[in-house]
């Protein structure tokens, strides 16, 4: 059931008929009932109109733009997802190789803004009507016309840098007496990840934030091409080490879908436990970072103690502190004993009690709350327009969580809540981290104490060419992994859409109109990873 604007509803299975009527049969739509997927194929001229309809009238969010350069044509795929029960919609567009111009949808669906800028840089496609194409992933030292994601590009050698104009200065928009630009990064004063922010100001308030990312661009999508599945799995785990399990899970689910591998109930349950353990550890680390950003030493130390305890707990259970080397297509690399589950359930419960105590103490620390309350606000409307995901969207009143919207790995059989907040400020995001950590603890305890039997060894499977989308709710939000396997069993295309990429896009909304000293706090409440964004 899809809620339309107004009071009408639309049944998902009626979509093809509605679309055929609306576009007079010029747009083909077909249903895959088992996958809960509606595939729409159309001409380039219909794409903006169609995407606009899906976004503004049916309330779908754009998850990803997947571009593939196939031997004879370009294949573009716009992936949409919505509320629970509204499945997913793929808008697919074939364009001939000679055609380099695609109509932009970013003026209707603002989420597409960064996807299109990225595609322009990496593929050399031009999105007609986009207001700001240009250096994005590749910085200015890349020569024009070099597009690393093209199949003809040789990924093994370094490229030649071009000469830069030493007198170049960034373009200033704020023009007033005393206006200046404050650069921050790419190297920060502590162990923060590399990124650059130019803040335009006339004194105390940040008027405009110009972020610049991709300092950590490792070309993961490109270097995965032509690799074996086992090698691509290493990349999926290691491109963002702090959410390794969620990403390798999304990758494995894509592979399992391509080869139609059945995953045992035990593997599904184990994956839920490990994914929630990762979420718990990530949220504790994010809470520690928020306390640290306000220079609140005792609270930072307390949260940091819990973080190290969660890391040691993870390592004692799985052998690795960041859950590397566990997932494999169809199974897991190791199994655990009943005793291990019981001690895990006890340990997370103890951790949760300590975390609750910290939450109660923070709730009544007015000097701490003053730094967070009504700071870094992202309104619900803007969060939706930017397609924000994860805890940030949920703190702004958008309770979308892939575990509920497009359930995977058996989440549909587990009772849990998706916490939401309405205030949309830094404190709402902190509260949300605490409530999600509580949900994760409950899920781990419930699943660990009723573990089904079954085999966890990855089965042997026949390699066939094909492509599929895998997804997971990573600790920072929704991630989508598109994998295409070639005839020789190697990876043909590996497209990564990560929550940090989607959410950094909306970061400027939160940081503008706030004072300089709030900037690190707003950054901490966003809690994003540049490794995950830059790939």
């Amino acid at each position: 059931m899809i809620e339309l604007n107004g009071n009408n509803t639309l049944i998902f299975s009626d979509l093809p008929e509605v679309i055929a009527k609306r576009w007079h049969g010029q747009v083909r739509a077909s249903l895959d009932v088992k996958e809960f997927l509606c595939l729409i194929e159309c001409e380039a001229s219909h794409v903006p109109d169609l995407c606009n309809w899906l976004f503004s009238e049916l309330g779908y969010s754009l998850a990803s733009l997947i571009i593939e350069e196939l031997p004879s044509y370009w294949l573009l795929r716009y992936v949409f997802y919505g509320e629970p029960g509204s499945g997913q919609i793929h808008v697919s567009l074939q364009s001939s190789k000679s055609e380099k111009t695609i109509p932009s949808i970013s003026r209707f669906v603002h989420t597409a803004d960064w996807f299109e800028r990225e595609a322009e840089d990496l593929f050399g496609l031009v999105f007609e009507g986009h207001p700001r194409l240009g250096d994005f992933v590749l910085h200015e030292e890349w020569p024009e016309g070099v597009n690393p994601m093209r199949t003809a590009f040789d990924a093994s050698c370094p490229y030649i840098h071009r000469e830069l104009d030493p007198d170049w200065r960034p373009h200033r928009i704020v023009k007033a007496p005393g206006a200046f630009m404050m650069p921050i990064g790419p190297v920060f004063s502590d162990a923060a990840e590399s990124a650059h922010f130019l803040l335009e100001t006339v004194g105390e308030d940040v008027i405009r934030t110009i972020p610049r990312f991709f300092y950590k661009y490792r070309g993961v999508e490109k270097i995965a091409e032509g690799r074996s599945i086992g090698r691509a799995l290493l990349l999926s785990e290691r491109f963002s080490g702090t959410s390794a399990f969620a990403h390798s899970l999304a990758f494995c689910q894509a592979i399992e879908k391509i080869f139609r591998i059945d995953v045992s109930v035990r593997v599904r349950a184990l994956r839920i436990i490990l994914a929630e353990l990762e979420r718990l550890r990530h949220h504790i680390a994010a809470i520690a970072a928020i306390c640290n950003s306000t220079a609140f030493a005792v609270a930072t130390s307390q949260a940091s103690i819990f973080e190290e305890e969660a890391l040691r707990l993870t390592c004692t259970l799985t052998g690795h502190r960041y859950l590397f080397g566990l997932n494999a297509p169809g199974g897991l690399s190791m199994d655990f004993s009943e005793q291990a589950f019981r001690s895990l359930a006890d340990a997370v419960y103890k951790l949760f009690n300590k975390l609750s105590e910290l939450k109660e103490m923070l709730r009544f620390s007015s000097s701490f709350l003053d730094r967070l309350e009504e700071v870094g606000i992202v309104s619900r409307e803007l969060a939706f327009a930017y397609g924000l995901v994860g805890p940030i969207a949920r703190a702004s009143g958008i309770a979308r969580d892939l575990r509920k919207v497009l359930p995977y790995s058996g989440y549909e059989n587990i009772a849990f809540d998706v916490p939401g907040e309405q205030e949309s400020d830094g404190y709402a995001r902190l509260r949300l981290l605490f409530s999600e950590a509580e949900q994760s603890v409950n899920i781990i305890r419930n699943v660990a104490l009723s573990m089904p039997d079954g085999e966890v060894t990855p089965p042997r499977f026949e390699v066939t060419p094909g492509s599929a989308l895998g997804w997971a709710e990573a600790p920072r939000g929704a991630t989508f992994h598109w994998v295409r396997i070639r005839g020789d069993g190697r990876v043909g295309r590996y497209r990564l859409t990560t929550p940090s990429f989607t959410n950094w896009h909306g970061f400027h909304l939160a940081s503008e109109d706030f004072a300089f000293q709030d900037f690190p706090i707003i950054m901490a409440t966003f809690g994003l990873s540049n490794a995950e964004c830059d790939r």
Binding site: S189, A191, S194, K222, M334
Partner: protein, 256 residues
């Protein structure tokens, strides 16, 4: 604020006793594979399962090159004859050049070292472990180690990541801005060899391509104790380990 003071006092001291005593808490380190004599039937299959080429068969022995090991556990899980595993954490090795010519940092730095951290494309796990050494369980301040916000005050540059193309210039600038004598510590497999990412069009094959490296800390990521060990080796308070197993003079890609 009183309740916070009380809370802090009630928590007590959780800090490890390393380097005075070994740390034996479970989960403090993921461990590393150990090289071994070639006396097992399955030895070739163990070597062929390594996706990064860290394992090699050399003169009736399995040799592990820690500069390439990424903790994928494929040589130890789901096979009949797993490789031996060590659970230590003293993994940091001094590079051959500086071992021959003596350390660049003198005695004055032994108990006071200021560190600048540069993220040259790390995945986040190495950086997270670097953050841990500044937190209660490891608390590097007790050893005289401090993170400094500016390269002008820094004695040691701690670099993680394979050095992505876009980070080459910031890293070089940070290094050049440091006063001499200065040291460089490369943290994690990516910083040692490029790891799973490099060398490629977008990332290099480790930090030593760009600036001279004094201490190498293997691991994906190295646990906080290994990073502390690296800093202690830097100031000659702890002995250097080897980047290959078994330890050998002739093998290893560049260093002993």
């Amino acid at each position: 604020m009183f309740k916070w003071v009380l809370k802090g006092l009630k928590t007590g001291i959780v800090t490890t006793l390393y380097p005075d005593k070994d740390e034996s808490a479970p989960g403090a380190s993921p461990g590393l594979p150990l090289g071994q004599k070639d006396n097992k039937e399955e030895v070739l299959s163990v070597v062929s399962r390594c996706p990064t080429g860290a394992l090699s068969r050399y003169d009736h022995q399995i040799t592990v090159d820690y500069e390439l090991c990424v903790h994928c556990f494929r040589c130890v899980r789901r096979i009949k004859d797993p490789i031996d595993w060590q659970n230590g954490y003293e993994w940091a090795a001094s590079t051959a050049e500086s071992a021959a010519g003596g350390h660049k940092l003198g005695k004055a730095f032994r108990r006071s070292l200021h560190i600048r951290v540069v993220d040259a494309g790390a995945c986040g796990a190495c950086l997270s472990e670097i953050e841990q050494i500044n937190k209660p369980y490891y608390n590097m301040h007790r050893l005289g180690f401090f993170i400094t916000p500016t390269p002008r005050d820094a004695d040691v540059l701690l670099v993680a990541g394979p050095v992505t193309d876009h980070m080459r210039m910031p890293l070089k600038k940070a290094y050049d801005a440091m006063p001499t004598p200065k040291g460089v510590v490369a943290v994690g497999t990516c910083a040692l060899s490029g790891g799973v990412f490099g060398p490629s069009f977008a990332s290099g094959a480790g930090v030593s391509e760009l600036i001279p490296v004094d201490i190498m800390i293997p691991g994906c990521p190295p646990p906080p104790l290994a990073i502390i060990h690296g800093l202690l080796v830097m100031v000659e308070r702890r002995r250097s380990s080897s980047l290959t197993s078994p330890k050998s003079q002739a093998e290893g890609r560049h260093h002993v």
